[in-house]
Symmetry: C2
Subunit: 341 residues, 2 copies
């Protein structure tokens, strides 16, 4: 193999890699309404029924650190990550398959804790665990899940549906999960420096952000509101990579640009406090943090007003536009940051 | 944590672990026709459509060794493993999600080779790659897949359907995949002992078994034969753990015992040759080898005769029985091995 033929994934980035690989898609089937490129894949059955499927893989040391991620919370979080993709298509999750590869160093009891977390989440989201694969692993714990969902065809919401002048809305507040992670990492550092075998981290003042990191909740109530009101957003994505990356997915899929008004991006007081303590920019948390599992959706102004009557926990943070094809962030201080899509 | 509370998974075995965990199954949903306990989970939609889903996780160093598993073959094999579970329910696979966690040490080109293998397999099995997750990993490559399928409800074949006096049939021949693995491991040992940086293994005489290990094929033609003839087995499972373990699954699920006639178990000449060279018992390969991806099905005597007219590549190796509840292996030398279910 020549030198040039060895290119690290980091050199081209995961985004480019996925683009490169999307050509290797097997046999195209007309029943598949949405393949690669949205939160979940969508399939139409012979009788017109819509099925969705999405999957996730989490690796120890990459996606979680068991020194501060209790097994039970890890199980809960993995399910949240999976069902969130189904909710982001405006559909109901139904069943979950869990694959777990377990190294020798972990006990049956730890695995059981993990499944307790999975079970609790599945009860909260009203889904059934229908199977999976349980296997050995060498050093590190690896878990993956697949989740199915269903909905009526007319209810489906894709990333590509955003319209010119749509309002860009986000539920809840952003940046909390990364703020929680920063605290957990700081406590771990204190623990290591203390040289003690056990350590009682002081997390009382950070309960909200730590919870957002360890046991995030998927926004399933939004689905119910859309059902009850008959309202439907034009496009939707769950916030897992971070606001900037995820909003770009909507813009690219819809062929539009975005204007974001930074002061409107909702950030909790506790998240601000953490950023202050860390001497970091809280906007970085909100724009690049990821793992918040809040929903970003675009909707017409009229429908946003209508929605507000039944559901209040969302903020308008900008508008979709056909006038340019980039992401423009107005910082509210006469400054506009321009980002390529 | 007390000493006693740390129990290694190996102490209780993966079978017991899965049993222990099957209680943590989230919310029971009546749409789920088959949850944990068969090759795939089965779901019935509101319009009566049947969807299936199954998943697999493969880890470097546990399920594959990249020193003799080329990336492209690995991609192919992973898809085979996944679709085989759908075929084992007598259903059509439809779409595949691929999750891959890639360590730094592997290049974009290697990942692309992996996807080429996935693509080739998906074309062979007529399924579409509809998405997945691409992420970083620390040291080891981890891949997982989820596959969906569909069929008419009346075509579904479960593990639990075996009837008293059914013939136990297996397609193709058994033990080839493990024979191939033994050869690859021997060549790897020679290579390490040679101290050379590169090494050209001599595999010419073992082409068949090596291929069965590296790029196994799922028995999709059996599905077509069942469709064309209108015949249907009473129960079915794909042979991935090995004949003994998989046949036990059928017996346990169906509440029956098994009588196996060992000389009838089909073994290829090349597999026999490998066992001879290794000074190992070829029956061990066939009974415990695993990864053959052949089908084991049970069927009435009359239907087996009928099937033989359209499809010849199967052997009758025993019968299901209501007279006892164990696995009895008649070795053909006036000896019967009794195994607990």
């Amino acid at each position: 193999m020549k030198e040039k033929e060895f290119q690290k994934v980091q050199e081209i980035g995961f985004g480019s890699l996925i683009e490169k690989l999307s050509g290797y898609s097997g046999k195209k089937r007309e029943e598949i309404l949405q393949g690669i490129g949205d939160d979940a894949a969508v399939f139409e059955g012979r009788k017109g029924e819509i099925s969705l499927i999405s999957s996730e893989i989490f690796l120890e040391g990459v996606h979680f650190d068991l020194s501060y991620h209790p097994f039970q919370h890890l199980g809960y979080k993995l399910v949240t990550a999976a069902v969130s993709d189904i909710y982001a298509m405006n559909a109901h999750p139904l069943q979950l398959l869990v694959n777990i590869a377990i190294p020798n160093k972990y006990s049956v009891q730890m695995v059981e804790q993990f499944y307790k977390g999975v079970d609790a989440a599945c009860k909260d989201y009203e889904i059934e665990v229908s199977g999976g694969d349980t296997t050995a692993s060498h050093q590190l714990l690896a878990v993956s899940v697949a989740v199915t969902g269903s909905t009526a065809k007319e209810n489906l919401v894709y990333r590509k549906g955003a319209k010119d002048k749509d309002l860009i809305c986000v539920t809840g507040d952003l940046g909390s999960a990364i703020a929680g992670l920063r605290i957990l990492m700081r406590e771990k550092k204190f623990w290591k420096e203390s040289g003690q075998e056990t350590f009682q981290p002081d997390l009382d003042d950070y309960e909200y952000v730590v919870k957002r990191q360890l046991i995030p909740a998927a926004r399933n109530e939004l689905l119910k509101v859309f059902e009850e009101t008959g309202l439907k957003p034009e496009s939707m994505i769950d916030l897992t990579q971070g606001l900037v990356a995820d909003a770009k997915e909507i813009a690219k899929a819809s062929g539009l640009g975005l204007d974001i008004y930074s002061p409107a991006v909702p950030i909790s007081l506790e998240t601000r406090k953490v950023a202050d303590e860390m001497k970091e920019d809280v906007d970085k948390y909100a724009f690049y943090g990821g793992e918040d599992y809040e929903m970003l959706f675009t909707i017409s102004e009229k429908n946003a007003e209508e929605l507000r009557k039944s559901f209040e926990d969302f903020s308008v943070i900008g508008t979709m536009t056909a006038e340019h094809h980039e992401m423009r962030i107005n910082t509210g201080e006469d400054k506009t940051i321009q980002l390529e899509l």
